[in-house]
Symmetry: D2
Subunit: 384 residues, 4 copies
């Protein structure tokens, strides 16, 4: 573990939005925020249920507020909020915080519509506030290594890309049984957005592809729908892609593939070789150079490039996991926030975290996907 | 090794078409034909170059003929021919042999056009001749196991399928250097057919998918072309699929992905779990049942179903390879041929090898792929 | 992440011994102690260099003390100390704390001699203080799963065990170059103990074997020494073992195997199957039942038994790492400490962490190993 | 497939000893002998049961003889015999053939005693006959690659070695049920030799270690016996080793480990890195160079050294298996035999197959193992 002591000043005061009882992602956010001791948790609107919210805040030993607006106006003033609610609350929470001059850490997808996403990105830019979108896979050291190798030209010209993200959570007819609170909002497109699978994991796949390849998706042809008979929400999306520079690609996501345990596979092919990364072996990265034996790079092992090496916390051979990925985002966001507070430049190496612009790109991907689907799979431009 | 002694009579006399000096697949065919001692090699038209053909036949200790027609008319009469030439010779060789009343073993793709494929299938049916198309991966025990498990309902209703076949052979600008004989015919679409990547490996991917899922591809949306700049032939094909019963799927093939060492990945997802098979671990099959730990079945190990078990030659833990797959096809084709000669029914278990009908299906896939590509990726029916 | 809120009262006050600048394990201990918010860091003797110690404490925002004794006598009183110094400081630090009535968390090996280990274990027992020895691998969920499966009789009668722990850190002639501070104490047997490789990783292998199999090592035959020519300290140990119940086994450790990236492999064989776990895939456990396909259990996936399930922090498919293992120990130690403070029984499920008794067992293993080596590899009893 | 046409003359006439109905290894030997068309099967003493022997010979279409002596005296004269009987027949069969001036291919272990092994080796040398011992794993391309890399100094000075060979066939109390013919001779030490596990697989492990490391085993300390309670024959052997040049090592073999599917793991460590090979991935070899990412070499892929490349039959990415390993031995033995017949030098590259000298080394290992066991595990010299 590298510990980033708060050299730029005091710990940042963080207000929590969402992540109350029963949340999977809430405790991950909180632990990640605390891990490097750059944040302290001071307040929260932890649940849309006022009583639950108060009880959860008490258990965490933090102040409870009835609304994000109230929390942003509280004393002592917060530095930032972290949003980990269902999707449809993101927009209001983030807007309120940005308008109050706070920085924001927000879970993905940024919002449920492209327009809202753009509005937040614009507002953050105008207010010069730090906005960190927690696509945490992009803060795994080996994903940063892949990005750095592509950027360094290790693969030569890019030729093709593949990404898939496959889950099993919706593989059964969950609609037929009693709904958990989580399922209830997910199955309601008013809350979860126009495409469940794209909001939940498609935006991750999109971001990983763009992040590692360094290119945007220009066009796509979509096959979007449900593989479970009778399902109203999307649980499957398969896409033919054209990235910048006429690079071909495929992107496949589903939440309804029985036995698929959060499978993520990413491959980037160039004229001189390819990279492959899988979630099940997240501490490793395979590099297959043309005409040479395949190499397996390990987190912290030989060959790590600086943007990846700076995220390695413990020596090679000792596993790191999702929590560290989240914590890397929080640590770098803290660096940017502290720099803003002090009016000094942040460490440029710390500024590679996903932002509202990534959120906009994710929503643009989703909008193009839906448009293509409506048009019978026609090739559709992704708005820049 | 199980040895299938020729209980139905003498060894079958096989004539070879193609597979001369420099061929990769020729020696595989010959070794496979001989492995179970059901065939003897007696004659050949081994090369389109008469002198090379004679010399190669002499080295193999078999009779040399100037043409397939002459070989089929030779004495003593052949039982079958095995065709392993460049694609554009397949049609004439197979037609000649079928018209002469011989059985046929033929490498894929069956022909270069759907019409020719249909003509061969019809001719074979009229003449009641055995026609074995050497999609050898389909004769790997673990592929048969996957097929048998799907057929037995182990996965429940099918939900989605994925197949990819990725090679590196065309990843560099081979067009710019001196061309080998092999490259010369491959780069000439008059010889290799309208889509190089689909003829070479796309038909394998298509056949594997149909063979294991037990379903035909009804519709597809194609992205077909070249990832290497300036290339005239296809080296990339990505497809969105709809299988019978509204099963969604993807199929991705490329011969131009640097560092990809004949990667084949096949996944079949059903309501109760999924199967995954990769070529790099061809002696194993992963079964991920819903709600239970993942299981790895091994060739010859516990849980093998009869259609797969009959192809296992040596005990679990000892690897088998491609040669055995080819030999399984030859052995079963021999069984069918011998039964035809004796006028007795063949062992039904032996009749699961790919035939001209598979060749027709492969060409129909290719035709639909090209039609979709021409129509800008529009969803296109695959002709039954 | 499950968060164990401090239901039994306030957070426990922890004093740190060692883990100052340059330490690998110091930051891991600190992050682990904080992760579940059961401890707060309040004081430290962070380095044997007084100035460094003060600076490091200031950076951490905690009180600095010149000695463990002074820290244990400080106000407000500590609940526990955590010892992460070089080995030869362990005994004094732990004894001082126990005598002062504090609980102890201590890194392995417990001490440098069996006598000292026994003295600490006895002192802890007399004082009824919690003593947690940080064999963190034993707190990985899949190691707990293996232990629980063995205990549940899943394997039937045990037949044999294998463990190996292989590192590369000493594979080169590090003695010839300028010594780091860390190497200096490691190469000095007065500080690192009588057998470097056994103190560093042999005690881990010994503990893992005993922990998972539920049996002690009764006898061993040792081959202990150095594989790097001219080396004075041990970098290799290979052992033939006899566990309780006449179970045979092997244990192999080395720190001088070039290219070995902290390789840990553990296998337990019983009449009904075996378990295999490797560090490189620490989130998975392989179970090979007799006569059935091999199963891969995943952390948080189907089949987790309660003692393992309680340590799972995030859903299956998302990796956890070493930090979480350490944190599991700290969380359970906190539970035990809080229960002691309140005079109530601790959750029995929390009491499966390694203690001073494990430290004694580790030193007894080391003593027997050295005795066997001195006796030319003769089979030697491990003192109970 | 490379086909080695019989350039040095006619095909060699091979007589078979053993391998009749029910044999696992008989069909493997026969297919391997035929694969490269350097041998023809002409005669056999296929079973110790005269009637079975005759029937099996008829099924194979070869002449049947009542004894090895009669077969060796038959017309036309054989070139060689291949011995695949239970162990206790090896000595007489091989001696008879050598005395008759025939070459010999013999399965392992060479004999049941060191004295017999030495006698055969001496006789073969005196008669200048080719003697090929079918340690087929040593003819896998990736094992040859490992040997070539060690020989080329890729690892620098050797530091340590590990080999293990684990099977499950004897994991249950097979003694309690009705015995198969195979089990009957295996459980009778008069037939299977003084140590079942060492004869069956220990000699393979020993040979692999020596073959790849290029060093003999000088001394060992043994733990030999049975892990299944009440068993009379050995099913477990674990060894501490000292190879030439003071290289340390371990060797572990067992046939009684439930769920172990013919597991073979071989590791060779040198100052500059290590090699690892596992049977479950026999077409790959892992090379972990010090200070560089791990590399995975694949059979036929980049980096193959000439002694390995010459054994590669089909391109990388297409699996080869055990049969090809056996066939490699037969092909090279045929080369040596043909050269002897013609009085010309054989291709030196073909002469790397295991011989009677390897058989002697294997029996010397076994003798030392038993002696060490008798002496309570005392370190014991392996006779050169």
């Amino acid at each position: 573990m590298t510990e980033a002591f708060p050299q730029l000043g005091r710990r940042l005061r963080l207000g929590l939005v969402g992540g109350g009882p029963g949340s999977f992602i809430g405790p991950v956010h909180r632990a990640a925020a605390l891990l490097d001791r750059r944040f302290e948790l001071v307040a929260g609107v932890l649940s849309s249920d006022a009583e639950k919210s108060r009880a959860a805040a008490a258990a965490l030993g933090i102040a409870s507020y009835p609304s994000v607006a109230a929390m942003c106006a509280g004393e002592p003033q917060l530095d930032a909020i972290a949003v980990m609610t269902p999707n449809h609350y993101h927009f209001d929470a983030c807007r309120t915080a940005l308008q109050a001059g706070l920085h924001v850490v927000c879970d993905k997808p940024l919002t449920n519509s492209l327009e809202e996403a753009r509005a937040l990105a614009a507002l953050g830019a105008v207010r010069s506030r730090v906005f960190c979108l927690t696509h945490a896979y992009s803060a795994y050291p080996m994903i940063r290594q892949a990005r750095a190798m592509v950027a360094a030209g290790t693969l030569g010209e890019l030729r093709a890309v593949q990404v898939e993200y496959l889950q099993a959570g919706m593989s059964q007819r969950v609609e037929d049984g009693p709904l958990t609170a989580k399922l209830r909002w997910k199955l309601d497109t008013a809350q979860s957005g126009p495409s469940l699978v794209l909001g939940d994991i498609g935006t991750h796949a999109d971001q990983l592809l763009r992040f590692v390849s360094g290119r945007r998706i220009e066009r796509l042809s979509a096959d979007l729908g449900a593989v479970v008979p009778g399902r109203k929400v999307h649980d499957w999306g398969a896409f033919l892609l054209r990235m910048e520079g006429d690079v071909r690609g495929t992107l496949t996501v589903s939440q309804a593939l029985a036995g698929a345990e959060n499978v993520i596979v990413l491959r980037v092919f160039g004229e001189r070789g390819h990279l492959e990364w899988t979630h099940a072996r997240s501490n490793f990265l395979t590099f297959a150079p043309h005409g040479e034996p395949v190499r397996t790079l390990s987190r912290g092992g030989p060959g790590m490039l600086p943007p990846a090496a700076r995220l390695v916390r413990i020596p090679a051979g000792h596993p790191e996991g999702l929590l560290e990925g989240f914590a890397n985002l929080y640590r770098d966001a803290a660096e940017a926030m502290a720099a803003a507070a002090l009016g000094v430049p942040a460490d440029p190496a710390a500024l590679d975290f996903p932002t509202a612009a990534d959120g906009v790109a994710g929503l643009a991907f989703m909008a193009a996907a839906i448009a293509s689907q409506v048009a019978g799979g026609a090739w559709t431009e992704v708005q820049p």
